[in-house]
């Protein structure tokens, strides 16, 4: 059967099992929008292509399936760049489809021409400019295969207008032609055994869990492994929810704004087991001083992560679900044959750190509203059952720290790239992927204003996300750095709390707008917001502008230099530096 390239594209997406595309049409991609009319695919018309990109990411984070976005050539495509860079940093499976000027005009500086494959080469797992209509089904199938297998990532397929208009004979499935693409096979059994032995012998082990555990759906194996060897677990910003925060072995998030117990445990560990994590600088602080006493087991599906930042003692390359299943089995066998691990003192020490140096803030009943309080109330009122989406900055750290996560895929944020403006469109994508569930974006006022126009998309498309704006009138994290490292010389960080009026803005976008200025009103306002399930809801929380995020490890410092913050006494800070446990 003869079909146009555009029809082949839409059919390929349908055959690939796509249910939704986030996009915005324009000249070069126009042919693709015609067959969409008669397709079962749901197309969500965004207000800015960046929103389409982040929505595809949010969809992928929330569902584990490949998110799809579509844009036209030139500025349409370049507006996807930030989202592609974000997805690349956080290994988010995503396929971006872009229109391109007709092949004969490529290179002539034609209207809305940009070299999007050139531009995105360093920020995609792969990309391709398709120059033959016959190749469209294979290009799409390969894009989905590459995006979702191995270490996931974004793939861009660039389709010139004349290729979309040309015709070819439809056939599916296509033959994948990827001779240079290999996904790691089963993990090396000897290395699994060696790792299990190290784990069994360790007295102070810590599982350093990254986003790979969530992407590989190996949270159950993680729990079994941790409980079998009785090792405390830290979940990075990318892995929040991989291990329940309420678990006795949970230490919470490590790193620059991590829990003291998580940071100290890694520093004092005799064995660090990195599982789908990548020794990111925000976790390690000064790399040479990170976990100085520890042997390292590093398991990852990407061989290039092994030894990139820290040379491991045992390296395991493979799919984490298999790796952790086998590791848990091997550890269980060792426990059965040689007895349980000897980590009770260590677990008690880490529990003592949790008790001695918890997250601390003060919410006076008549004082300014603290963002931490809002997150804690949200956590309590939702029972850790919501899907939380954050942008980047103080609100993101407060959300990650104070929400008690219970399950994977309930935390979505921009981790590696640190993309402001991520939350609203990502929440939209997450809600589309999991329509019946409660999706709450926690956003800063700075972030919110970068992509707020997607509220219109949410309202019109019936996507009832909740957006909690922590409106402190500042680019808060930058303000905090200027306070601490630039001697309170504030420069270009004041946004003001009153403009725009977020309640009116929400209403203008067809959403419910609420405001909360006092701690005493938090529960009632949250209750109201959470009860609305038909339209998107925005809450303007007027939060304290001078509130910082603590603990904090100053950038470039060793993790041993962790600062507990103003809520702790000098004596407590000294005790923390000595890694003592305070009497309860």
């Amino acid at each position: 059967m003869e079909v146009t390239g555009a029809q082949a594209l839409v059919r390929s997406l349908e055959c690939q099992g796509v249910d939704v595309i986030f996009g915005l049409p324009g000249g070069a991609i126009l042919p693709a929008y015609d067959p969409l009319r008669s397709s079962s695919l749901r197309h969500i018309l965004v207000r800015h292509e960046q929103g389409a990109g982040h929505a595809a990411e949010g969809y992928a984070w929330a569902t584990g399936r490949v998110g799809v976005c579509m844009a036209t050539s030139g500025p349409g495509a370049t507006n996807l760049v930030t989202a592609l860079a974000d997805a690349y940093m956080d290994s988010v499976p995503m396929v971006a489809i872009t229109g391109q000027v007709p092949t004969a005009m490529i290179g002539t500086d034609a209207f809305q021409e940009s070299d999007i494959t050139g531009i995105t080469a360093p920020i995609t797992k792969h990309n391709e400019l398709v120059t033959d209509v016959e190749r469209i089904p294979a290009a799409i199938a390969e894009a989905f295969h590459i995006a979702s297998s191995g270490r996931p990532g974004p793939v861009l397929v660039d389709l010139p207008k004349d290729i979309l208009q040309a015709t070819s004979t439809w056939s599916w499935p296509p033959v994948l032609d990827l001779p240079g693409y290999r996904v790691p096979g089963p993990p090396d059994a000897e290395r699994i055994a060696a790792a299990a032995r190290l784990l069994h012998q360790a007295r102070r082990p810590v599982l350093y869990v990254g986003g790979g555990v969530i992407k590989s759906d190996s949270h159950e194996a993680l729990r079994e492994l941790a409980e079998t060897v009785q090792a405390p677990v830290t979940t990075t910003l990318m892995a929040r929810g991989a291990f329940p925060d309420s678990h006795p072995l949970a230490l919470g998030m490590p790193g620059m704004h991590g829990m003291y117990a998580a940071v100290a445990a890694l520093q004092e560990a005799d064995l660090v087991v990195a599982l789908g994590s990548r020794f990111d600088d925000r976790v390690t602080g000064k790399l040479a001083a990170f976990a100085p006493k520890a042997k390292v087991i590093h398991a990852d599906i990407d061989p290039a992560e092994i030894g990139k930042n820290r040379t491991p003692d045992v390296a395991i390359v493979g799919d984490l679900r298999t790796v952790m299943g086998e590791l848990a089995r091997a550890a269980r066998a060792l426990v059965a044959s040689d007895g349980p691990t000897d980590t009770a003192d260590w677990v008690a020490t880490t529990a003592g750190w949790k008790r001695s140096f918890p997250l601390r803030y003060t919410q006076d009943s008549d004082g300014p509203l603290k963002p931490q309080h809002v997150v804690e109330r949200l956590s309590a009122m939702t029972g850790g059952d919501a899907i939380i989406v954050a942008g980047v900055g103080q609100h993101q750290m407060h959300a990650s720290q104070h929400y008690s996560f219970t399950k994977p895929r309930s935390w979505i944020n921009s981790g590696g790239a640190g993309t402001m403006g991520f939350a609203v469109p990502a929440a939209m994508g997450a809600q589309v992927g999991r329509p019946g569930e409660l999706v709450v974006a926690i956003d800063g006022d700075g972030c919110f204003q970068m992509t707020a126009q997607e509220l219109a998309t949410c309202a019109i498309e019936g996507i009832p996300i909740k957006v909690l704006i922590f409106n402190n009138g500042f680019l808060g994290m930058v303000r905090q750095w200027q306070e601490l490292f630039y001697d309170e010389r504030y420069s270009e960080v004041h946004l003001g709390t009153a403009i725009p009026d977020y309640v009116k803005l929400a209403e203008a976008y067809g959403c419910v707008g609420l405001r909360c200025e006092q701690s005493g009103d938090v529960d009632a306002v949250l209750e109201k917001a959470l009860s609305i399930s038909d339209v998107p809801t925005v809450v303007d929380f007027r939060t304290h502008d001078a509130e910082g995020v603590f603990p904090m490890i100053p950038v470039g410092h060793a993790n041993d230099d962790i600062v507990l913050g103003p809520e702790f006494t000098a004596a407590e800070q000294r005790a923390a530096a000595r890694k003592e446990v305070m009497a309860s």
Partner: protein
Amino acid sequence: MSTHTLSVLVENKPGVLAHVAALFSRRAFNITSLSVGPTSDERVSRMTIVVDGASTPVDQVHKQLEKLIRVLKVVELDEDAAIERELALIKVVAAPELRAELLDVAASFRANVVDMGPETVVLEAVCSPGRLGSLLEQLDRHGTCELVRTGMIAISRGAGTITDEEPEALAVSA
């Protein structure tokens, strides 16, 4: 300078060189030279990439190249077990009184004279990068007007070929 030579088989498709170049730029890898050409299989091109090991983690270069979808195979050639060659075309001042000496130098490096004019000669030299360096040093006293080099290509000694071995296992040594 500790140089490492990577022989890289890539799919002969548009955009491959851009992807390789983007990788080097993105990861801040320094390359000393890069040359590309077709192989006996028209679907495959071969790149020879010389990396400065002092400023660039060669193991990372190797692994990151392997991750590129269009890269088929990466092999690091052992300097002692490989033949390394570079072609240079060198335009040198050939003053009448020094011309005989210049031709002697060329002959001792087996460089061919491919153009001879009243004031200059063009030499064609094919040798290892080290030997080429020596030749250029010798020519300096005559005055080198223009130099063009292809970048190094290399092949392993003996019967083994780059296509012999299966792709290396992705497991890494610890």
